[in-house]
């Protein structure tokens, strides 16, 4: 006997580790593809997380830049506070640390910048960093002389001056004293750079142009009012001031305001995270597939080890250790790729936020260690989780596996119906989880995961059936080579079934996301079709959106009606309003027909809806608002008006894809009364049936151009095209993620099929030895991979449609509150099958060439 056999035995003896290491290095393709698969999954998560975090940080910094150290803001319901009220409040309440503020999005050169108007004297004690920066950057004038006072005097006295950050100034090629053109809406205003703010440690002014309040009022055309008042107050001061504010003004804390803004993009960020997790999920499945392959391929070897006394725990640890090595390498590669991809994604994310929500001044990639750690942790965690099954499978290896090689395959075949039955049960569990999980995104995602896992468990049995059914067809078409190709799949179903399932899941993910985007786009297009009920729209020059204060000239309504061919004109006012739960969009309408058209209601509206709406008794709310706040017809909604908080009864919930933060619709007359605003920001023209639309549009264009300031004109079709363009831009990032998921899928199938085909080298050698030509062997392998690809594509269709449906009905609904019908185009399905087939054929190319080149004697000898 071996002496000292009772000594403690290491968990993994050196020889086992060496065997494992050499297995990985002797299968470089498989090892690298696994690493790349994990890396892509990690990269997607890190890239999206970095982009999300950078956008959030950009948002926080943008808010901090604009709000400064203010603790509170005085806001008005109509977004305008008369200068006289500011002056009175400052005097009456001795508000020492208070400054009026105006902010507006502008463009300087190619850069989107926030113009921030402040009372520079009043703001000085509140924003020492800003002013210190201003002086630090402008201490020396062009001639080298100290020029502190001159900068301030220039800003205060010259009506066309502003301060730019050093980064922005460099980007637009402007220096102190240079003239610049500032685009405000469609207008361009000539201004001068009074000074340049240096980027200091911990304080950046990038994306901000600071002007004196009077300058901002002048260039923005609001000479008598400011947007809000920023203050630094103690709690006691805040309580006293809030009680004394006149009607129509309210005191909000900076945190409330920041939260309300953050709330607007929360769904957007959540959805992006969900999409990145989907990519990781596909990546995880591929890791599972890879590790299972590694175990199945070595089944006989594992049996030999068990015969020699290697314990189950040691085999379990061995497989997990291999997975850990792959995961660590994949995570490292994934971090580097993720940072590179994240730099691109952050531009897409911030562009979408700027397009849809609000302007972000800070848009650079921020390397957040938490995001990197999260990506690495998820990558390693998912890999280990995915390797758990194969590790358990390895631990279950029986010593007798070494003696009967066909036993595994036979046992696997017997297990197929049970696996499929288990799969159906898992799918049902997922489906049951959906209604039980309420509105939880996490559980919604868990349900999606269960459906994917369940479907993949059913796939090997279906693949076996497909292969059995197609054997006569392939035999008829390609002779014995065709029969061999089809039968080869059933002969090694434990592995071929797994490879097909991996490809099918990956392709289904891309089909599902494609269906989701397609359905969404089609729904938005349909919605625009029935919502845009006028033929031509005229709006204030800034587009008349929710952030706009501008109005169309009084009397324009009549002038438009007088134009030839104009049958009716409807009017609208859009603005952002406060609710106790944050901002929402208010749309005040009046209709040419007395009843607004183009609404599609969700559920039954209140009786006599339009009459009661016109009477101001009811309002309409959009579906996202109703979903998020869990309100419906008969419930009440509170809005902050110039007359203070007002409560409205909800008369109907309407379909709306315009804003995920919610829209409320009021009659224009009621809005004018409660918000003290008789302005109109857009008008819709309905043309008579016999009118030439081009001539009518030309007439409206001429009239709009003659207005001061000129108004913008869009046809119904123009607005639809523009809206869909913004939609496509918003979904660019989702498309990028979809492409990355396809990348993960391709790597996965390449890995699985290559491993499978390489494993069959000996069988192919036997065929070559019995007289099969190289060409016949190549054809056999490519036929086999083609059949597997097509089977995967066919299986991916129902799963892809189910995933698309779940993404729409569960993930999207819970993210944004939008409901939409599932719309499947044949193109999406055909492209899914083609993708699977092409991926499989490409994956089969190398093994086909290798097998055809191999000397049969050598392959036969290699065991």
């Amino acid at each position: 006997m071996v002496p000292n056999a009772h000594w403690s035995i290491p968990l993994l003896p050196a020889a086992l580790i060496a065997a494992s290491r050499r297995y990985l290095t002797r299968h470089p393709w498989q090892t690298w593809l696994s690493i790349v698969g994990i890396a892509l999954g990690v990269a997607v998560v890190i890239a999206v997380d970095l982009a999300n975090e950078s956008a959030r940080r950009g948002f926080r910094l943008s808010v901090e830049q604009v709000a400064g150290p203010a603790t509170h803001q005085i806001e008005s319901a109509d977004g305008r506070i008369p200068v006289a009220i500011y002056a009175r409040l400052r005097l009456d309440h001795r508000l020492r640390l208070a400054t009026p503020v105006i902010e507006a999005p502008v463009r300087i050169g190619e850069r989107s910048i926030t113009l921030l108007g402040l009372d520079l004297i009043a703001a000085a004690p509140m924003r020492p960093a800003l002013l210190a920066g201003a002086w630090a950057g402008n201490a020396a004038g062009p001639d080298g002389a100290v020029d502190l006072a001159a900068t301030l005097i220039r800003l205060l006295s010259k009506p066309d001056t502003l301060l730019l950050s050093a980064t922005d100034a460099a980007a637009v090629g402007a220096e102190r004293g240079d003239p610049i053109e500032v685009e405000i809406g469609r207008d361009a205003v000539a201004m001068h750079v009074a000074g340049v703010l240096p980027d200091q440690q911990g304080q950046t002014f990038g994306g901000l142009a600071i002007a004196d309040i009077a300058t901002a009022q002048a260039v923005l055309g609001t000479p008598d009012s400011v947007e809000r008042i920023d203050l630094i107050l103690t709690d006691a001061e805040a309580t006293r001031l809030a009680a004394a504010l006149p009607e129509g003004l309210r005191l909000a804390t900076t945190a409330q305001r920041t939260n309300a803004l953050a709330q607007m993009t929360r769904a957007f960020h959540t959805n992006l995270t969900a999409m990145s997790l989907l990519a990781l999920l596909v990546g995880g499945y591929i890791v599972y597939n890879t590790m299972t392959f590694a175990v199945l391929q070595r089944r006989s070897l594992l049996g030999t080890l068990r015969m020699q006394g290697v314990t189950r725990a040691q085999l379990f640890a061995l497989v997990l250790a291999e997975a850990l090595v792959l995961a660590a390498a994949g995570a490292l590669l994934g971090v580097l790729t993720g940072i590179a991809v994240g730099a691109g994604l952050v531009q897409l994310v911030t562009r979408t936020i700027n397009d849809v929500y609000f302007q972000l001044n800070v848009r650079s990639l921020h390397l957040d260690w938490l995001s990197l750690s999260k990506g690495i942790g998820l990558g390693i965690g998912v890999t280990l989780l995915a390797a758990l099954g194969p590790a358990l499978e390895a631990a279950r290896s029986q010593p007798r596996d070494v003696i009967r090689r066909t036993l595994v395959e036979q046992r696997g075949r017997r297990l197929l119906p049970w696996l499929a039955a288990g799969g159906v049960a898992v799918i049902l569990l997922g489906l049951v989880l959906i209604p039980l999980s309420g509105r939880s995104m996490t559980w919604g995602f868990a349900a999606l995961f269960l459906v994917i896992v369940g479907a993949s468990l059913c796939m090997p049995l279906v693949v076996r059936l497909i292969a059995a059914l197609t054997t006569p067809l392939f035999g008829g078409l390609f002779g014995s080579v065709g029969r061999l190709a089809a039968r080869g799949i059933t002969a090694s179903i434990t592995r071929s079934g797994l490879a097909v399932a991996a490809l099918a899941v990956a392709v289904a993910a891309t089909v599902g996301v494609g269906i989701m985007i397609g359905s969404f786009r089609a729904s938005v297009s349909d919605w625009l079709e029935h919502t845009l009920s006028s033929d031509i729209y005229i709006a204030t020059d800034d587009g008349g959106g929710a952030g706009s204060d501008a109005s169309l000239p009084t009397g324009l309504h009549q002038r438009l009606l007088a134009l030839p061919g104009v049958e009716a004109v409807s009017r609208g006012r859009s603005r952002r309003v406060e609710t106790p739960d944050g901002h929402m969009r208010l749309l005040a309408l009046t209709s040419s027909t007395g009843q607004p058209r183009g609404f599609e209601f969700r559920g039954e509206p209140a009786p006599e809806l339009w009459a009661r709406w016109r009477a101001g008794e009811l309002v309409l709310v959009s579906e996202p608002y109703a979903y998020r706040q869990q309100v419906g017809v008969g419930d009440r909604l509170r809005l902050f008006s110039t007359a203070g908080w007002r409560s409205f009864e909800i008369g109907a919930v309407f379909q709306d894809y315009g804003s995920d933060s919610g829209t409320v619709i009021l009659p224009l007359e009621l809005y004018a009364e409660l918000w003290n605003d008789t302005g109109v920001s857009s008008m819709g023209l309905v043309l008579a049936d016999d009118t030439d639309p081009a001539r009518a549009e030309a007439a409206v264009q001429t009239l709009a151009a003659s207005l001061s300031p000129p108004a913008s004109v869009q046809t119904n079709r123009g607005i639809r095209e523009l809206s869909l363009e913004i939609f496509d831009r918003t979904f660019t990032i989702t498309e990028v993620l979809r492409l990355l998921a396809i990348g993960v899928a391709f790597v996965g199938i390449l890995s699985a099929l290559m491993a499978l085909e390489l494993e069959r080298s000996k069988d192919y050698a036997v065929l070559r030895a019995t007289g099969m030509t190289r060409g016949q062997l190549r054809r056999l392998i490519l036929l086999q991979t083609s059949l597997m690809g097509i089977a995967a594509g066919v299986l991916a269709i129902p799963l892809g449609v189910a995933m698309g449906d779940l993404l729409i009905q569960v993930i999207n609904l819970r993210s944004f509150g939008w409901r939409m019908p599932l719309q499947v185009t044949p193109g999406t399905l055909v492209s899914g099958v083609l993708l699977a087939w092409i991926a499989a054929v490409i994956a089969g190319l190398y093994p086909a060439l290798r097998a055809a080149r191999a000397a049969p004697a050598r392959a036969l000898r290699e065991e």
Partner: protein
């Protein structure tokens, strides 16, 4: 055999059958025999006679329907999986028809594995590997991988691996079945000399009368029944 000596292997009333459709096919019926320490026993039989099933039952990798197998006095049939693993690791060595060397380990590493699993120190492992490689005539091939060896060489490594940890019992399943006649003969000679030198107990499963001739005793397995050849063959 001396009744006071513990048998290396004792088999008592062993029975095994498999389901075939609605019926059961008896593979082994009431098999009993004992093997003394240092003895070499051959189980001779045609394909399908039940000899491989018997070997599996002896190694504890299959469970009998009836009877008991005792190795060094310990009942294999009563053992749980962890105890069986330990038993195989410490007391049993295997020689397979298809060698079953670990392809990703060198010759020395293949030999080292059973020793490592038994917790032997590195110095002891090196010493024992060198000793065994010398005995099987593979000096200087420590660094070779299995696919760089001929079939005969691979089987010699497999033999060395089976005895390197000095097991109480070595089970060999058709050890020359995958070799040509000349190589098979050399391997058989090696097996006979090695086991005589090291004094291991060997159970040899074979269909070849030539192979069985190296055994002290021969049992014929036919239709699940065991009968001892009265004619004793010596080395």
């Amino acid at each position: 055999m001396d009744a006071t000596t513990t048998a290396a292997l004792a088999v008592e009333g062993l029975g095994k059958s498999y389901a075939e459709g609605n019926q059961r096919r008896t593979v082994l019926a009431d098999v009993s025999f004992e093997v003394a320490p240092g003895e070499c026993v051959a189980l001779l039989g045609r394909s399908g006679s039940g000899k491989s099933t018997l070997l599996n039952l002896l190694a504890g990798i299959d469970q009998p329907d009836a009877g008991d197998v005792r190795i060094m006095g310990q009942s294999v049939t009563a053992m749980g999986e962890p105890a069986l693993t330990l038993l195989r690791r410490r007391h049993i060595g295997f020689i397979y028809q298809f060698f079953n060397l670990i392809p990703t380990l060198t010759v020395a590493e293949n030999l080292s594995l059973p020793l490592e699993l038994n917790g032997a120190r590195a110095a002891r492992r090196r010493e024992r590997i060198a000793e065994l490689l010398g005995k099987v005539g593979l000096d200087g091939r420590e660094g070779a991988f299995p696919d760089q060896l001929s079939g005969g060489e691979q089987q010699r490594v497999a033999i060395a691996r089976a005895i390197i940890h000095e097991p109480a019992l070595v089970l060999a399943d058709e050890p020359t079945g995958n070799l040509d006649a000349q190589t098979g003969h050399r391997v058989l000679e090696l097996l006979a000399h090695l086991f005589r030198d090291e004094g291991h107990t060997l159970i040899l499963v074979t269909h070849s009368r030539e192979v069985s001739e190296i055994a002290d005793r021969i049992f014929a397995v036919d239709q699940g029944r065991l009968s001892e050849h009265t004619e004793s063959l010596s080395w």
